[in-house]
Each structure stands twice: as structure tokens, then as C-alpha cells.
């Protein structure tokens, strides 16, 4: 019975693409959990919209990863038939939604990075990644604006919203370092002009954060310990539960067309 996990030949290029695809899918999935349950209808719409953008990015990236790999994998096999140890997303994006502040801070940290990242990737020597970047950059710019406006509203809103926003920042801060880490495979891609060095984005990312967070009357944490492991499949306990839900149909009814 074909229920087993697929095997992926993780060449540096496949792995690189898969990591970005997993980021987009897992964050999109998390945001989609809000649909029907948001604090106001406008945010039901907005969070669903952002989720749709991210799931769209994931589909393009998975399809490209499968094409680069050149076996018989496809977007759905990559999404539905890999287990938690095979997922390559950032720890940040798999963190639970928590309250609205936690969701928006998670989005803010990620979008502030994604906005810079995709803009830089538009110059990738890989034409497909550059094209995906051109589309994703426009979307990320909007996601960042949406998240930034909420960080300011929550931080400079009521006492309660201020505390909740600061708590979320303090809680999620340790998951941000992973966005800027690279391994040997990625270094080679950076060298070849296919990938960009995320370390070069960190200064501008911090400036965006500082500007918004100070306008929100909030503070960035001082601690610099950064949690890592997602890129290598060492996840938090949260991801397994997310995947068991995401993959339930494909695992229960293997090999069917839906």
C-alpha cells in the first residue's frame, strides 16, 4: 500500500527550493486556521488572503522543486507525503497561532524578511526562482504593510494589547535567527548567483523592525540566543500535529485522485 513517505533527492537546489516552499505552506496553513474565527470579518478576509498568497507561492516552489529533482514527485506528494523529519521550514512559521498578537508578530517577523528576500531574489540567475520572486515580492510587501499596521495598533492601542504584543515579540524572537543562517549547500548556490546571502539582509530587516516596533511603543528583546533546526528537519513538537491534520486525507486514502 503506497502510504509510505516519499524519498526526495535533496540536491542543494532541490533542498533550497523545498525549504522556501515549506515556509510558505506551513505559514499559509497556520493562517488558514483563522478562517471563520478572526476578531473581525475584515481580518477573516485579510488572513485568508495572505494564506492564499502563501499557499500559491508554495505550490509554485514545490512544482519547481519536483521539476528540478526530475523524479515522479509533484506538489502534492511533496506536501502530503513527507513526515515531520523531512520538512525543511523555519521553526518560526510552525509556531501555533496563539492569540491575534502572536499570529501578527509571527507574520511581521517573517514578512519583514520575505519582503527583502524576494526582492533580492528577483536578480537570481535561476529564471524560475526569479519569476517566483517577482510575484512573491509584491505579495510580501502587502503582507508586511498589513502586519506592521497591526503591530502599531496593538502596541499603541490599549494596555492589554500592548502587553500581548510585547509577550508575543519576546516569545517569538528566538525563532528569527534561523532566517539568516546558511549551510554549505546554500553557500555554493549563493556563490553561483542562484541564491542570495540572507546575512546581507539582516541590517535592513532590523531597521524595519526597529522602526515599526518603536512606533508601536514596544521593545525588541535583548537576548541573542537563537533556536535553530527547522532547516534540517529538527522541529518543535507543534509541526507533527499540523502535518497530521494537513496530510490526513492522503494518509487515510492513499493514492487516490481528489
Amino acid at each position: 500500500m503506497p502510504v509510505a513517505n516519499i524519498q526526495v533527492s535533496e540536491t542543494p537546489m532541490v533542498l533550497y527550493t523545498l525549504r522556501r516552499a515549506d515556509d510558505a505552506l506551513i505559514l499559509g496553513h497556520r493562517l488558514s486556521e483563522w478562517c471563520g474565527h478572526a476578531p473581525m470579518l475584515e481580518e477573516d478576509m485579510a488572513l485568508s488572503n495572505i494564506a492564499l498568497d502563501l499557499i500559491g507561492q508554495a505550490r509554485e516552489l514545490y512544482t519547481y522543486a519536483a521539476a528540478v529533482e526530475g523524479k515522479d514527485n509533484d506538489e502534492d506528494k511533496l506536501a502530503y507525503l513527507r513526515d515531520v523529519r523531512q520538512y525543511r521550514n523555519l521553526l518560526l512559521v510552525e509556531q501555533p497561532n496563539g492569540d491575534f498578537a502572536q499570529t501578527l508578530v509571527r507574520q511581521f517577523f517573517y514578512s519583514a524578511f520575505a519582503d527583502l528576500y524576494w526582492r533580492a531574489m528577483m536578480t537570481s540567475r535561476d529564471a524560475t526562482l526569479a519569476a517566483i520572486a517577482a510575484k512573491s515580492e509584491k505579495e510580501s510587501a502587502y503582507h508586511l504593510r498589513h502586519a506592521s499596521e497591526w503591530i502599531i495598533r496593538l502596541g499603541d492601542g490599549t494596555d492589554e494589547s500592548h502587553v500581548r504584543a510585547q509577550t508575543a515579540i519576546d516569545h517569538l524572537w528566538a525563532f528569527t535567527g534561523e532566517m539568516f543562517a546558511v549551510d554549505d549547500g546554500e553557500c555554493a548556490l549563493i556563490h553561483a548567483g542562484i541564491a542570495i546571502d540572507p546575512g546581507t539582509l539582516r541590517g535592513r530587516w532590523l531597521t524595519t523592525l526597529s522602526d515599526v516596533i518603536s512606533e508601536a511603543t514596544l521593545e525588541l528583546p535583548q537576548n541573542d540566543w537563537m533556536q535553530q533546526g527547522g532547516r534540517a528537519g529538527r522541529h518543535s513538537e507543534h509541526l507533527g500535529h499540523l502535518l497530521s491534520e494537513l496530510q490526513s486525507m492522503q494518509r487515510t486514502f492513499p493514492g487516490l485522485t481528489w
Binding site: G36, H37, A38, P39, D44, S48, G157, F253
Partner: protein, 330 residues
């Protein structure tokens, strides 16, 4: 459809209105003119429409829950994106309809509070559970199909903002209906297990969907005024029959069996269905459907847990306005 519990007893208030203006109003309706928000209208017309449009809006919002139940479990990424977009559309319809209702003078907050307090109704259909993926196909095919049947005539409703809202809503519902049917088609062309899943969903949803059109004409008390005001253009039974006639061939094409062994086709080609269990309908309207409590609890939870967010947004907006005023004064 989404306003099946409509009660227009207030129509009697009309006697208090100025008779000449009422006659002029009715003449405009009879001439197929659209009534706009700033136009004079009888108090009962305003009240009837506020209730109908807000019930429709509540239905869109509560209706996000049964389908939202499958967003995180959709079987493929394509299906996941399509379902999420669909549920987002329903939210958009709700927002659009609340805005249409607000043109009649009641705020969205008041309308939502009435729903959360259990004082306002929403469509009975959303009190049934979505147990399998085939339920998502069935809802698109039948529930949205039934909604379209009811809402197409509402595009010609005498109240302008509602009629215009319905034009857009119907376009999107039509897309949803085709999407649902395509899910069913895929299931019915799939494995025996998938086909059984499709049949099981049809068996569970068929009768509740027929109930969506509201009580039979013989017992329906409110059609007269709504018909006279050109809010309602077809009776419940007329719409129900149109729906059944359109749906039976679609089920046949899928190879599915309508769960009504007594159904016959008469000489005119109409498919005559068996007696509907109106006791079940009344129980669901009374709050005793399988999911009434869950639906209300989910909406109340979202509302209550969102209170601090809405308060923060309001507080920030007030601070900002205050700062701008202070700056302008400098």
C-alpha cells in the same frame, strides 16, 4: 432561503404610515423602480428588509464554519486553495450584506449582537455537520445551488442595495456551485470508496437542502407582503420544485441516487419529491439541529476572544485622531 424564518407580522404597522406616501411607494414598486436608502419607505418594509438582509449576512458568516472545518484537511493543495478562497468569498458576501443592511439604518454591531444573542436567525442548513470531504463537494453543488435558485430572483428585488449585492453574490455562488459539482464528479469517477463517500454525503444533505427553501406555501404566512413589495418573486414551493428539477439530472449524470425512493417524474417532466419531514426542520430552527450549539459557540468565541483586538484598534484610532488634531492646532 437564508431567511426562511422570516416573520413579517410588523407589516401591520403600515396602517400607521401616511396613506398617500404609501400609495406612491407601492406605485414605484409596481413600476419596477428600485427603492434607494434615502427614499421614503414604509417602516415595515424597512424592518422586513433589515431582517432578511441581516439573516442572509448571518448565514454567510455562520456558513463559513462547516466548510472551514475542512480547509486544514483538504486533500490536495489545489483543493485547499480553492476551498479557502471559497470560504473567503462567503465572508465577503457577509460583509457586503451587512453593509447593505446598514443602509437601512441599523449598524453591523447591532445586527451581529442580535445574532450572537440568539435573537436573529441564520439558515438551518449550516446546523448540519461536514463529516467527510464529500460534504464539501455536496455543499457546493447543492447548498450553493439552492442558494442561487433563491438569489437569482433577488437580483430584481425592489430594494436597490440588496438587488445589486445579489448580482455579485450570485456570480460567485455560481462559481462555487460548479466547483462543488466538480469535486463530486471527481469522487464519482474515483474509487468505490470515493463513490460511496459521495453517495453518503448526498443521502445526508438532500432533505436538509430541500428544507432550505422554507415551509410549504400552504403554511407560509409571510409571502403576501414580500411578494407585493417585490422582495420575493417566487413562492417557496416554486423555487424548491425548480431546484429539484434542475438537480435530478445532475445526480443522474454523477451516477448517484437521490435518497427518495418515492420520487416520480410527472407528464410535464417535473420531478415530484416525497413529503418533507417538517418536524426535523422545526427542531433545527428551534436550536436542536446537530450543530446549532457548536455554531453559536464558535461565533461567540471568535467575537469574545476578538474583543481586545477591536478595542485596541479603536483606542489606537482615537489616539491617532487626537494627535492629528493636536498637530493641526500647533
Amino acid at each position: 432561503m437564508y431567511t426562511q424564518a422570516l416573520n413579517t407580522a410588523e407589516a401591520d404597522d403600515r396602517g400607521l404610515e401616511d396613506a398617500a406616501r404609501a400609495a406612491q411607494f407601492q406605485a414605484r414598486i409596481d413600476a419596477e423602480e428600485r427603492i434607494e436608502p434615502n427614499d421614503w419607505m414604509p417602516a415595515a418594509y424597512r424592518k422586513t428588509l433589515t431582517r432578511q438582509i441581516s439573516q442572509h449576512a448571518h448565514s454567510e458568516i455562520v456558513g463559513m464554519l462547516p466548510e472551514g472545518n475542512w480547509i486544514t484537511r483538504a486533500p490536495t493543495l489545489r483543493r485547499k486553495a480553492a476551498l479557502l478562497a471559497k470560504v473567503q468569498d462567503e465572508c465577503g458576501h457577509g460583509l457586503y450584506l451587512y453593509a447593505a443592511a446598514e443602509t437601512l439604518g441599523t449598524s453591523r454591531e447591532e445586527l451581529v449582537d442580535a445574532m450572537l444573542a440568539g435573537k436573529a436567525k441564520y439558515s438551518s442548513i449550516f446546523n448540519y455537520p461536514t463529516l467527510t470531504w464529500a460534504d464539501i463537494g455536496t455543499i457546493g453543488w447543492l447548498v450553493d445551488g439552492a442558494a442561487i435558485m433563491n438569489q437569482i430572483p433577488l437580483c430584481r428585488c425592489s430594494y436597490g442595495p440588496y438587488a445589486r449585492a445579489m448580482i455579485r453574490v450570485c456570480k460567485e455562488e455560481s462559481f462555487h456551485q460548479r466547483q462543488g459539482y466538480e469535486i463530486m464528479l471527481t469522487l464519482c469517477r474515483g474509487s468505490d470508496e470515493q463513490k460511496a463517500m459521495a453517495q453518503d454525503a448526498l443521502n445526508r444533505w438532500w432533505w436538509p437542502v430541500l428544507m432550505m427553501f422554507g415551509p410549504p406555501d400552504a403554511t407560509s404566512q409571510h409571502s403576501d407582503t414580500s411578494t407585493k413589495w417585490k422582495i420575493k418573486r417566487f413562492s417557496n414551493d416554486e423555487l424548491r420544485q425548480k431546484f429539484v428539477d434542475a438537480t435530478v439530472p445532475q445526480a443522474q449524470y454523477l451516477g448517484l441516487t437521490i435518497p427518495d425512493p418515492g420520487m416520480t417524474q410527472d407528464a410535464d417532466g417535473h420531478w415530484r419529491y416525497s413529503e418533507i419531514d417538517w418536524t426535523e426542520f422545526k427542531q433545527v430552527l428551534a436550536g436542536n439541529g446537530p450543530c446549532n450549539r457548536d455554531r453559536m459557540a464558535a461565533r461567540r468565541k471568535a467575537h469574545e476572544e476578538g474583543t481586545w483586538v477591536r478595542e485596541a484598534a479603536a483606542a489606537y484610532a482615537a489616539k491617532r485622531a487626537h494627535r492629528q488634531t493636536a498637530q493641526a492646532a500647533e
